[in-house]
Amino acid sequence: MSEPRDLVGGAPETSFTLDFDGRKLPAHSGQSIAAVLWSAGITAWRTTRQGGAPRGAFCGIGSCYDCLVTVNGRPNQRACLLPARPGDTVTPQEGTGHGALV
């Protein structure tokens, strides 16, 4: 089965792991957090405020805000825009992401 990498060739400069909900996910420098999650087969990482429905990346360009996630304790980050960095801890976000403060 071919992969996107086969199309463009080359190799990432550095690779590391990202902590997501207690799992270690393989990540490459230059990828967004959403890209890391998608390559691990994960398409949902938050639940909605009203219905508690699962959501992930939708527009992919930072317009829809559906991919909001908590990164290193900071809620409401757009996973499709935010670059993944070594040492990042990504937490699935429930509702507003401020539940711990209530």
Binding site: E13, A34, A35, G60, C64
Partner: protein
């Protein structure tokens, strides 16, 4: 064609005096908002002509959505494999780097402009552009004598039952994630909606290793036949279509025209899509539904011009052939507000080639140079083609027939179609704004970008132009620090 005689900024001989705050040394001759095809072409052309340019862009790398490409650290050897017309970008990106080194262009990457204001009504048109920089959202103000808005577009979405399931993504979104991050939303991806972008997306996804069981197109490509003159005058566009068509054949992808995905199925993620035939008005034809298994669904119905900075300044708009609102521009690419130019998708969806031409024309106008006749002809040709495509893919009025009352139309505020229908039928709402006040549809994080077109259709009105006082969420701290006259922040 000679430019008219109204005042426009001339080439600067010496730095302009500061405004006393000391925050910014001098005003640029031109501020360009957006580094996609239009903004990039405009910035390098203006710098070639001797203007001092500040280029502000929300992205980390130039190219916008169309030329989106992986970060250098991802080490892609052949980023052009994911693109059509990469050479046009590569040559302009090179010129941008040269101008940056020479100090003629200041490229502010990662800067999201959230409002543009005229500093002083009496001054000779100096503008202040307020931006948020980087993930820390630092407040930055840029001053300029002229502004070019090249803010591009976002995808038009028409909701359907199940469209909020994980794995259902924007067609442009899937394309963007692939181009920038080299990732796929799934292994078996149905591509659906309307417009030529679907063919490009299906071709890219398949080339990158996904199985694409079908491209589901609501319009009929035979709808182009009545607009043949515009097609025949655009051989390059026909060739582009043939490339995408060829890619579909090569990857064994079925193109189902006059069909739509009327429901996505699954619990925690999409598992299948129900596809139905449409009548001329896009009403699903009963008894034609069939199910296609998939683990992702990429949907989109063309693009919507991103206009809030322009409408915030009072720029006039018009409704285009595809049913969206775009800026009114004259042959010099001037908006109705003196000192504000625009190029690319903001003047009507037309694609990258048109955006490149318009960006160059706008820069020449701003520099007070004549417009080359060949470039003007090229713009008319491409604009005519865009209008023909736009009309062919304009959503039919019957599409709301596939919404059930419990389909969330507003993704952010989770407002179902039934509540919006109630606001229209029982509470008398006749426009999107009233629906918003009654139901909260369009009041969430995305500010109606995802549901605005759908809410307007349900309210029975034409979608209005983008109107948002702030183009993105702005920290209260940043607003509080703005001086009352809208001038440079301390």
């Amino acid at each position: 064609m000679a430019p008219s005689s109204d005042p426009r900024p001339a080439r600067t001989a010496a730095p302009a005096p500061g405004d006393g705050t000391g925050a910014v040394a001098s005003a640029a001759d031109l501020a360009v908002v957006g580094a996609g095809p239009a903004g990039l072409a405009a910035a390098v052309t203006a710098a070639d002509l001797g203007l001092r340019v500040t280029l502000l862009d929300a992205g980390d790398r130039p190219g916008g959505q169309y030329y989106r490409h992986p970060a250098p650290e991802l080490g892609a050897e052949r980023p052009e494999a994911l693109h059509h017309g990469w050479a046009a970008f590569a040559s302009r990106a090179r010129r941008l780097r040269d101008h940056e080194r020479a100090g003629r262009i200041r490229h502010l990457a990662g800067h999201h402009v959230w409002t543009v204001v005229r500093k002083d009504e009496d001054a000779a048109g100096e503008w202040h552009l307020h931006a948020l920089a980087g993930p820390e959202e630092q407040a930055v103000t840029v001053r300029a004598r002229a502004v070019l808005l090249a803010t591009g577009a976002y995808e038009r979405q028409l909701p359907f039952p199940g469209w909020t399931l994980p794995g259902v993504v924007g067609a442009g979104g899937a394309q963007a994630m692939l181009k920038a991050g080299l990732v796929l939303p799934g292994r078996r991806v149905v591509v659906a909606g309307s417009g030529p972008l679907l063919l490009a997306v299906a071709g890219s996804l398949a080339a990158a290793g996904a199985a694409v069981p079908a491209v589901v197109e609501a319009a009929s490509y035979t709808g182009y036949a009545g607009r043949l003159p515009a097609l025949l005058r655009n051989p390059a566009k026909l060739a582009e279509g043939a490339v995408y068509g060829g890619a579909l054949v090569r990857h064994g992808i079925r193109l189902l025209t006059r069909h739509a995905v009327v429901e996505a199925h699954g619990t925690d993620r999409v598992e299948a899509a129900t596809v139905a035939r449409l009548d001329r008005d896009w009403r699903p034809v009963p008894g034609t539904a069939r199910r296609i298994p998939c683990d992702a669904l990429a949907v989109g119905h063309g693009l919507v011009p991103q206009l809030e900075l322009a409408t915030g300044l009072g720029c006039a708009t018009r409704t285009t052939a595809d049913g969206t609102a775009a800026l009114v521009l004259d042959e010099q690419q001037r908006t109705s507000v003196t000192g504000i130019w625009s190029a690319g998708e903001t003047g009507g969806i037309g694609g990258a080639q048109l955006a490149l031409a318009e960006g160059e024309l706008a820069a020449r106008s701003i520099a007070g140079r004549p417009l080359p006749a060949e470039l003007v002809r090229r713009r008319s040709r491409l604009r005519a083609f865009a209008d023909a495509m736009g009309a062919a893919h304009r959503p039919g009025t019957g599409w709301t027939g596939w919404l059930s009352d419990d389909t969330d139309v507003c993704r952010c505020e989770e407002v179902p179609a039934g509540l919006i229908r109630e606001a229209v039928a029982d509470l008398g709402a006749t426009d999107a704004r009233t629906v918003k006040l009654l139901t909260r549809a369009g009041m969430g994080w995305c500010q109606g970008r995802m549901c605005g077109q759908a809410v307007a259709a349900l309210a029975g009105c034409a979608p209005g132009p983008d109107r948002r006082p702030l183009s993105c969420p702005v920290p209260l701290k940043v607003l509080a620090e703005l001086p009352a006259d809208g001038g440079t922040a301390p």
